[in-house]
Structure formats: structure tokens, C-alpha cells
Symmetry: C2
DNA sequence: AGCACGTTTGGAAACGTTTCCACAAGGGGG
DNA sequence: CCCCCTTGTGGAAACGTTTCCAAACGTGCT
């Protein structure tokens, strides 16, 4: 009856390759599965699973045995198998235009660590300001079955964005919004920060202020300029009190405009993009102009680390990226839970630093 | 024979819930599976799979029908199911100490887009310089069954790093290396860049140079200082030609040391950390010192965007993050393929800018 | 003593793939 | 004409989970 050439039933075949794997350390010892845990604990597969997922219907002894087995094996659940079964991944995707932009890096950091607290894995993707890369990342994330998406959309609509809109996958936009996709968004209201800046400048004695705008075709670019206009209307009613420069990102021509406005009596500048603020900072100092006290005041959107490292430190209008992050996460969670939350705006605010000071006497 | 109460074979049961899903648009229409594709194409599941994975054993007609069906359904493969079956994910994890550090942001960007080209998904995780977060991210990535890992390790060993070392999962370290984990690494050799900097300074007439070092307990911090010593030995043999400051990241006390060295006749400073270079830039200008031509020359490790925006633009020693990225990817791919590649060093090089100039006359 | 009930358990199905296996169809060479 | 080989196909198993279902096992009540 017992055939000596085939292994008898008394030999547990739980880890058949255990011995040979030991002989050569090239072969990666296969990761233990829940089946191994169950076998070692002497319980069924279902019981092991229930213990490890904290299902209430488990006995104390089963819990103890399974936990011990899992620990001694170094068992780690296979998330891909789990989510195949549960059709939930507890993962979301985040797509930013460029992770090298410090604002987006901060946003990503905040969102990811927010997720870490909530047990949600955040897959960060950076599209390098390229719609094709954005779509490619979107497609992969969908194939990865993420539960939802947080997107900082590039300028225009793309095939994948349309698909997102039409499909029912939960997603929110953050920072920038795109009217065409009817998704809830969380973005920053530039007015409070701009208003505070203009008001502070006026109270310090400034009478003529330049606004350097950029990306004027994006929602944020437009709204920041609009906010400057509104604040100016309310606080500096004089007709020639406000000057506006439209500055591209890759051409320094606008610096000449800025110089001539300053020569004409402007004593302060507000920048819609931190990049321009830094560029002007260097340029103005180089030209021998005083920045800060008794000189030209500078205020910039977005609060970069380097702003407080410079001398004088540059005043910022912050969009509170941590708040954007946490609201976006909350909204996305709500959507994944089945709700349809409304859009949200975060107030910007002013962070006064040395570059915000009195104009030259007289 | 034909029973009218059960659906005849002519009625395709491919998407049974199609109609009811249409009635209420709250219910997210379930994503089509390969089964739906096969049904619509009128072939078996296996055939559909073979077509979609470009298996050679498929007929032209099958390919045509399956492709058409997949297209019309908008079918996208479920990567989690696929990798459960194939035990490959075509995804790797990347862990950086802090994504807000522009150097790491650039590294991450390069690695991710490198992966995009190779069909590899790169999951980026930032540990905020916190070993616990690093380990937490490592654990999740392992549970996600990534094929491999690229790690910029924090200072010391941690439980998960030990597990990585002992387990057979392919991983490489980049930028920083940690002797304890015997993993192949790709990092930058600071000497060529530092040597070029010191040589250029000497040729311009500088005779006394300060080195501002940081993170001296990390491999990079140590090696950069060592490189400065070596370059100085070769190029500036005078005993008092070189001064060294150990600067912490969060305390500005070192600025006083810098001032006093400059007062003592030093005319140039090399910074091991870009943060310190920026801090000094602001401080020195504020103190009324000339930077650049006929003033104090500044050279900093890592090439930040803002360096070229400032005036004068700051000279950098670049570690060529794109090269680090592509070598790391290549090495990891090799490891995943079963090889055991050796470590690699990338030469740093000098990017001269305006802050590298002649010292004051006399 | 019997019965209903609550707790815990094992077994099996299912998630969406890929891939092995066996077989059918067709074609060419003996 | 038969056999063999190639090519393409369908069916089924398997990957590692969770969860449904039914059964086993006490326990407390009548």
C-alpha cells in the first residue's frame, strides 16, 4: 500500500523547497503565505485570515496561535491578492505637474503623510508639465485599481481626463481647477492674502504697486490677478496706483518693464509666481536697488523654504499647502465612501517678512 | 430540447448587469474584465488573454476580434490580478529622505520618467527624514510586492533595512550608502568637482578657502570634506590655506565663523549643502560684502534651480542626478534579472557661474 | 433532557489574470 | 493514405486573499 517512492502523508509538504532553498542562497526564499501561517498555527485558512484581519469571530486561542505563527514566519499580507478579493486597494494616486516645483513637492509630502496616518497609500506621479505623461500616469494608476485620484490638472483637457469625468472613479482636483471636468475641487482663494499684502503696503506708505502675473491662462493665474485688481480698487483708488506685468516663465524681458515702473515711482511688487520673485530679487539687488526697509518691497505667492534663507527674507502669500492637502484627502475619502462633496476654498494669508517694509522716505 | 425558460446560447450573457447599471448612474458601472472581452469577441478567455499579451500563438482573425472588443469596451487590464498570477508587478519603490529637497525631487523625477520609458511604475515615497516613516513606507511597498527598491537611506540601520538585507529582494542604494547593508550602490564621487572648484579658485588668485561642511556623519558629508582636504593638499599646500567649518542645518552660529574667516583673509567658500550656500548668500550680501567678481566667491554642492536665478548666479558642483537615476535604474533592473552588479560612482563636476570670480585686487 | 441559540470553525467559492495541457484542424512528406 | 508536426484553441488550474455557508460545539433555559 505504502509506496516508498512517493512521499508519505506524514511528511508535511508545507514548504517543499525549504531544504533546497537553504542549500543555495541565490534562490530567494519564497515569501510565506497565509496558508503557511495557517498550517504552522494548526488552524484552517479561513481562521487564520479572520485572526489577521481582526474579525470578531475568533477564539482567544486561535488568535494567539495564528499571531505567533505569523510573527515567527515574518508573514506580510500580499496586498495585491487582498485587493483582488476585496476590490479595494486602500491606495490613491496623486498627479502633480512637476514634483520639482517646491510647492507641489510640499503638497505631495503633506498628502502622502496624511495618507500614512489614515492607512492609505499615496502613489505620487509627476507629469513634467506634459499632458501625455499625465495621461500615461493616469492610465497606470487606473490599471493599478487605485480607489481614487487627486489631480493637479495641467492646462487643458486630455483623453484620460475625459475618461475620468465620464467614468465613475472618485477624484478631486486641487490647486488648479478645470471647469470642463465637473469634479469637486479644493483650491486657494487668493483674495485674502493679496488684500492683506496691499493693505500692509498701503499702511506702510506705499502708493504705487506693481503686480507681476504669470500663467494667466490657468485658473490660478487668472484669479490672482483678479484678486489684485479687487484689492487695489478697494484700497488704492488712484488711477495710476496699480501696474500689471504679464511675465512668461522663460523670458526675462519683463524685468525691464519692472525697472521702468520702479523708476516711475512704484515702490512695491507682488509676484504671482515664486520663480519671478526670486528672479527679481537677484536682479534688483544686482542693479543696486535696496530691497526691504526704505527700498522696494517684495511679496510673492507661495512660501518657498529659500524665502526665509535670503536677506532680506521674502514676504509670502501662502496657500497653506497642508490645508489643501488635508481637505483634498478628506474630500476624496468622502467620495470613495459614496458622498459627493462640494468644492472647497482655502483662504490664502500673508506671511510678512523683511521684504515688506516702508518705502524710501519722501 | 430547447427550454424556453433558460436563456438560449444565442443570448450573450457577457454583461448581465449592463441594463440595470444604466438605470441608476450612482452605481459605478463595473469595469469590464477580460471575460467580457472574450465573450464579446466570441472567443475563449485564454485566447483573449493571449491576444492581449501579444502571445504569438494567435490567429489573425482572433487578434482582430479581440482587439476590437477590448477597444469598444474600453478594457484595461487589472494589474493586481495580473501580478498575482505572474508574481511580477513591473513596479519598483523609491524612498527618498525628503521629497521637498530639490535634489531628491530631481532624482525622483528622473527615476520615475526613466521607469515610464521602460514600462516600469515607480512608487515614490518620502520619509521626511524620519526612520519610522521610512520603515513604514518600506513595509507597504513590500506588501505591494514591488519587484525591487531604490533607497536613499537615512543615517542609520533600521529593522526594515535589516530585513531587506537578509531577505533576497533586489534593492540598491543611491546617493548615500550604508556599509551595514551589503547592497550595490550608486553614488557620486565628490573629488572631481571639488578639485575643479579649488583649481579654478586658485587660478583666479584665491589663496585661502573655507569649506562649510554638514551632515558629517553621513557618507556623503564625510566624503565631501575628505575631497576638499585632498584637493587642498594638492593645490594649496600652504598650512593656513584651508579652513573648515562644521555647520548644523538648523543653527546659524556657523555664519559667525564664516565671517571671521573672511575677515582673516579667506576669499572663497565651498559649501557641502545647498541650504548653507543660500543662507550664506543672503547673509553676506546683507553684511555688505561683494559676492563674485572682486569679492568673495561661492561654490555649492548640488545644482538648485534657484542658483541661476540669483544675482550673481551661484556656482555649483553637480552630482548629475539624471546619471545617478539612470545608473540606479539599470542596476536595479539587472538585479531583478538575477545579476549581482557592482557598485558605481558618478563623477561630480563643476558648473561655473558668476559667483566664481577673481578675489578683490590686492 | 431537549432545544434553541450564539460562537467558532473548516471548506469552498470567488476576485481577474496567465499559462499549462490536451486536443482539433490542417498540411506536407513518407 | 497515413502519420506527424505545426498552429491555434478551449478548458482548467493556479496565484493569495476574504468571505459566505453550513456544520460543530457548547451553554443556558425551559
Amino acid at each position: 500500500m505504502t509506496n516508498p517512492t512517493e512521499p508519505g502523508p506524514t511528511v508535511p509538504t508545507g514548504s517543499p523547497q525549504g531544504i533546497e532553498a537553504q542549500s543555495t542562497n541565490r534562490a530567494p526564499r519564497a515569501r510565506p503565505t497565509i496558508k503557511d501561517v495557517a498550517a504552522l498555527a494548526g488552524v484552517s485558512l479561513g481562521t487564520a485570515s479572520r485572526v489577521l484581519t481582526n474579525h470578531p469571530a475568533t477564539s482567544a486561542t486561535a488568535r494567539e496561535k495564528v499571531r505567533a505563527a505569523a510573527l515567527s514566519l515574518g508573514y506580510q499580507v500580499n496586498l495585491r491578492a487582498r485587493s483582488l478579493r476585496t476590490s479595494r486597494t486602500n491606495a490613491i494616486g496623486l498627479i502633480v505637474p512637476d514634483i520639482r516645483n517646491p510647492f507641489f513637492a510640499g503638497l505631495a509630502q503633506s498628502i502622502q503623510s496624511e495618507g500614512l496616518d489614515d492607512g492609505i497609500t499615496v502613489f505620487i506621479a509627476s507629469s513634467q508639465e506634459d499632458p501625455d505623461q499625465q495621461d500615461q500616469h493616469l492610465r497606470t494608476l487606473l490599471k493599478e485599481q487605485v480607489d481614487g485620484l487627486i489631480v493637479v490638472p495641467l492646462g487643458g483637457m486630455t483623453p484620460m481626463l475625459e475618461q475620468l469625468r465620464d467614468q465613475q472613479i472618485p477624484f478631486v482636483t486641487v490647486d488648479r481647477t478645470l471647469d470642463e471636468l465637473k469634479a469637486p475641487s479644493v483650491d486657494a482663494d487668493p483674495l485674502p492674502g493679496v488684500y492683506a499684502a496691499v493693505e500692509a503696503l498701503r499702511n506702510l506708505g506705499h502708493r504705487r504697486i506693481v503686480y507681476v502675473g504669470s500663467l494667466l491662462d490657468s485658473s490660478t493665474g487668472r484669479e490672482r490677478l483678479l484678486a489684485f485688481d479687487n484689492a487695489g480698487d478697494a484700497l488704492l483708488p488712484g488711477g495710476d496706483a496699480r501696474m500689471v506685468i504679464a511675465a512668461p516663465l522663460d523670458d526675462d524681458g519683463w524685468l525691464r518693464e519692472l525697472d521702468s515702473f520702479l523708476d516711475d515711482g512704484a515702490t512695491a511688487a507682488i509676484f504671482g509666481h515664486s520663480r519671478h520673485a526670486l528672479r527679481a530679487f537677484g536682479h534688483l539687488r544686482d542693479a543696486g536697488r535696496v530691497i526691504g526697509d526704505r527700498g522696494v518691497s517684495l511679496v510673492s505667492f507661495d512660501d518657498l523654504d529659500v524665502f526665509s534663507l535670503l536677506t532680506p527674507a521674502i514676504t509670502a502669500i501662502t496657500q497653506h499647502p497642508e490645508q489643501l492637502a488635508s481637505r483634498a484627502m478628506a474630500m476624496l475619502s468622502a467620495m470613495i465612501g459614496g458622498d459627493r462633496p462640494g468644492s472647497v476654498r482655502i483662504e490664502t494669508s500673508l506671511i510678512p517678512r523683511e521684504s515688506l517694509a516702508a518705502p524710501p522716505a519722501g
